[in-house]
Amino acid sequence: MDQTELLNRCRKGDELAWEMLVRRQQGRVCAMVFGYLGDREETLDVAQDIFVRLYRKLDQCTDADKFPSWLISIVRNACLDHLRRRKARPPRQDIPAAEMTSLASSSPNPEEQWYRTARRRLVHRALQDLSEINREVILLKDIQGLSLEQVSDVLQVPLGTVKSRASRARLELAQAITALEKGPDGGFPSATEAVS
């Protein structure tokens, strides 16, 4: 079923269509929220809230083509609100970035899976070290695959700023990952953590 029909059915209250929409979008929404927050429990809570918001606001998105960037805006606003609240109430623990990255791996080879988990863990830890704008550029452009124009629309910053930030953000992320790799534990997960 194409996106336009799915959205129309959701707006009319078709529960099966809504379930399909949730299943289609939950992976993307959770990945984005995890990129912003870096904490598994918070990610699942905030992602649920986002779907409740989405359910209530579905009427506002009339153009199915604009649905992905509209959804990303909702996700971004919810995450930024949550981060503002978190400033007053710091997270309970250090960022357990490996917890959720292991869920995403689909590789059948345990060794390859271990390296993939290690890399994703490094990326998530390094993302938390970037400035807010650089982190968002990485999340939207390099991870979610939005075009520079779409990133500019979502972030509401000039296109030129996004263009100049794009390479710089990628380089900063690579440098942050390199620094983590040289850290005391090399940034790699334990064997049990990686294959769980």
Binding site: K12, G13, G27, L44, Q48, Y55, D142, L173, T178
Partner: protein, 272 residues
């Protein structure tokens, strides 16, 4: 072989010491070009120079390696499987919300407006900034109500402040503030000739009237306690303060009893 390595190391040391004494290390320039090198959009001259630098600089080389695998790894991180429990939890939460079918079919006019307002409020109140905005708006409203000429509460803060500065012996000043509040309520009721506002006004009037005697007692007891304290008679002062506490309790009780009387009489009227 060993001697060749040693020679290479010596050459590298020589290059570094020359760079240190002249232009400084070229790493920052090389790093600037790395994304272009990975994306294959450097011109040939820059490409040769950056590749030559990478051959001799392990730090920049490791960054280049990371940039290389990031190109394939980042897009693969676009989705995370949160598990079947997540889907079930979302569906359970949205099932408790008003049905979209009902919203699409029936909630029009005033009911639809109330529904939209409810959604708006529920969404807004979760935003940390919104609480500050509401507090700011209420402060402005209170300021306008108490400062603007002709406002219902105009002059009340000054009178309360005067009463506080004068001490409990001049509690009659506070009586003036009560009168001003009553007048303000009356003026407000005049502006808003609305049945709800009229009901509120009469309710407040009834409450003020029912507590009048107890307020007089409270004033007298506080004045008496203040007098005893000034004459350093602790025992009588404590007794007076105790009596004032009872008076306050009585005012509180009468205020709320007035409400319950009002509610019960309304219920009786509606049942009859």
């Amino acid at each position: 072989m060993r001697r060749f390595d040693d020679k290479d190391d010596r050459n590298e040391d020589l290059v570094r010491s020359i760079l240190d004494r002249t232009s400084g290390p070229a790493c920052s320039r090389a790093l600037e070009h790395l994304p272009g090198l990975v994306d294959n959009n450097l011109d040939s001259g820059d490409r040769v120079l950056v590749q030559a630098h990478l051959e001799n600089c392990p730090g920049c080389r490791s960054v280049a390696v990371v940039l290389g695998w990031m190109g394939t790894e980042l897009p693969a991180m676009a989705e995370i499987d949160p598990g079947e429990e997540f889907t079930a939890a979302v569906l359970a939460r949205t099932a408790r919300l008003p049905s979209r079918a009902a919203a699409a079919g029936h909630l029009t006019g005033a009911a639809g407006l109330v529904d939209r307002l409810g959604n708006w409020w529920e969404e807004r109140i979760q935003r940390p900034l919104f609480a500050w905005q509401v507090a700011y708006a209420l402060t402005v409203l209170l300021t306008v109500l108490t400062i603007a000429p002709g406002a219902p509460l105009h002059g009340v803060p000054r009178q309360i402040l005067a009463g506080v500065e004068a001490g409990p012996a001049r509690l009659s000043v506070l009586g003036g503030a009560f009168t001003t509040v009553d007048q303000g309520v009356a003026q407000g009721a005049g502006f808003l000739k609305d049945s709800v506002w009229g009901g509120i006004r009469s309710d407040v009037g009834r409450r003020v009237q029912s507590t009048e005697l107890a307020r007089d007692h409270l004033g007298r007891d506080v004045q008496g306690a203040w007098r005893e304290i000034r004459h350093k008679r602790t025992g009588p002062a404590l007794m007076r303060l105790s009596a004032a506490g009872s008076d306050f309790q009585e005012i509180w009780r009468l205020w709320w009893r007035s409400n319950s009387i009002n509610q019960s009489s309304t219920a009786e009227r509606s049942s009859s």
